[in-house]
Amino acid sequence: MIVGAWICLLAPLGGALAITLLGPWISRRVAGYISTLTTFLAFAGALVAFFGLWSRDADDREHLSTAYTWLAAGDFQVGFEILVDPLSAVMMLVVSGVGGLIVWYSMGYMAGDEEERRFFAYMSLFVFSMLLLVQAGNFLLLLVGWGLVGLASYLLIGFWHRRPEAVAAAKKAFIVNAVGDATFALAIVLLIWSTGTLELLGVFAEVDGLSNTTVNLIALGLLGGAVAKSAQIPLHTWLPDAMEGPTPVSALIHAATMVTAGVYLLVRAHPIFEAAPDIQSLAAILGAVTLLVAGLVALVQWDIKRVIAYSTMSQIGYMFLGAGIGAYGFAIFHLMTHAFFKALLFLAAGVVIHHLNDEQDIRRMGGLKTALPRTHVAFFIGTVALVGLPPFAGFWSKDAIIASALARGDALGWTLFVACLLGVLLTGAYSFRLYFAVFQGKPQEAAAQQAHAHERRGEGPLSMLVPVGVLAVLAAIGGLLSIPGVWHPFTHWVEETGEPLVEATARQDYLVSAISVALGIVGLLLARRAFLRDRQLVTAPTAWRIFEHKFYFDELYDALFHRRAAGLSHALRRRVEEPVIERSLNEIGSGTILASDGLARAQSGLLRTYALAIAVSVSVLIVVFVAVR
């Protein structure tokens, strides 16, 4: 079982190294095979670990395995250790499973690209980093995985490095994430200082003994990292720009796995957050705000991938909300179902984009249900799962979170509950707006022409269609792992690692389900009505402007931070760098030349001058000798 976990961790690393080292000696297709096969091998390892864990008793399900001691300073020790417990087993399965499907898909999507090998090396690097993150047995190793996924994200967003927009987006993602990394690192410093250890289990045992301020600061630092990585407000600005990367990247990193790392952290470190309840509630509030803001912005986007990106941001808000109120099992459950249907949506969108020759503007799409029937079905399933209509996956997971909010009961609980319901309405509206715009109606002129051009290809190669199909099946039935009131294998499994703080009653569950389904259908109908009348859902010009500018966050940050920093660096360059440093270097150079010119004059070549010099120095030396005696 432990071996399975290690294989799960190291197989993608091996794949990445193999592709990097074999470089030009393997074909592009072989690179894709290496990446896909190692990721599925990781999935096999994860299965072994999972079943190994399952076969043990419930109180024997926490296993630490250390490879070697990495750091040792006095009493403080950090090892390269992985933790195999129910939570990490689930995350391993999701990451390697969905990851494997997406890497397989990208063999078809990225075929023909000049730098395919680099792509697959980066993808394997990412899978390894994410697995390291979820399997880490101590905070330092977690931070290492955290940083590496950030690196992989940067490399993959900027994969088409000749596009300036892609490069700018990659930088933005890395820099915003760096803010979160900094708070995370500070939290780790506090942990070392106050508890003397970084092992997850060790830290959790010590948490009760810490002062209030310390725990609050640590939790705040961890939350900062989570907010940045999961693109929640206020560190969310990088996610829409990250859509510059190839579609499989958007599916894997910015929907299914990396952005959920923040949720994983909130659940994993729940003892710390439970000891700092204000911060935990803050997480829930941030989640609620994000889910509303993102939902509103998604109503006015024209790029198909951006709509799905904002949808991701919104759904992760739900997960943050769930983790913030203590519904750990449901937060992770929603994480898993979201991975299924969001990856499905992205991959299906990828088929559409590929089919239309890289067209991403939905105003130029339409009526694709005839040209892409199977993709149409898949996309529909994904949309319905996202909105949360039964019996598809999102229904079971999202409503469970909403019911937990209701079950909380206090003022915060009611606010969160209302926010969740509004979010459901928005989700229905924007997702079906997207669906209708892309697949229904009459095919657009340009779209029709381009579609004709590609009809020979059919909907796409098998490598693209099979993963989409598998994900569609998962999005359809994946939610059945937790039926309220009937059976809860998934949540019970995860909750071994963290007891939930709230439990909804059966009545609350049914009530919430009914309301949210109703709201979802209302959203659908609103979208349909707007589509049939060829109008947009948001017509008021001010509202449109605010939503379109994403609530002016980018402009705010630009004015607050970027302009100040840029101004400072320009001023420094003008006042310090050029006049002082550069010029002084030049002066040193020309001074040296002047000095050497002057000295060169001593080499006159005249014999008599040399003789004179000798005579003079001899007389001086005589004086010196005599004086010394």
């Binding site: 005249l606 008599r608 001058t609 004179l612 005579a615 003079v616 007389s619 005589i622 004086v623 005599v626």
Partner: protein, 193 residues
Amino acid sequence: MGNVVVWIVWFVAAGACLGSGIAVVSLTNPFYSALALIGNLASLAVLYLLLAAEFLAAAQVLVYAGAVMVMFLFVIAYLGGRADAPWAGGSPILQTAAVVAAVALLVEVVVVLGLAWGDDLKDPAEVSDAFGSPAAIGELFLTDHLLAFEITSIVLLVAAIGGVVLGTTHERVDDVGAGHARPLQRESGERPL
């Protein structure tokens, strides 16, 4: 009485020495300068005799005045008119500096001598009559200072070879009269020397 004679001889010789020295440096015609130097050497030989260095005085006259100066006079005669160069040149600063330096040297030495006049330079050692005789010098050369003797001979050999080399010319058969003498000349294609 002998003392006075010695002093008179000394003054004459020293005066001739210094006077001829100044003459060497200041006369324009190199020929006259060389003749003045011969006078200088002769008066130096007298001074050597006063210092009980008979062999050296003889060697000075024979070698220096007899051979070296003759060689000088030969060369000056060969060069003829080309030996006339401007008396001196260079910036006035350099000239003044040269004079100052030379005077400074002299003054310094005098000062040092003055300081040591009473102590180190007092009584010259007692010497026998054989002091400075050819036998004594020859014996030293072949025993204590054998190395210096041998090395000096090698130096003379090298100088002789050098003189011969400097003097040879390689005139090409088809280039007679070109006067471009370049010893150690290597034609392209020839094996290097």
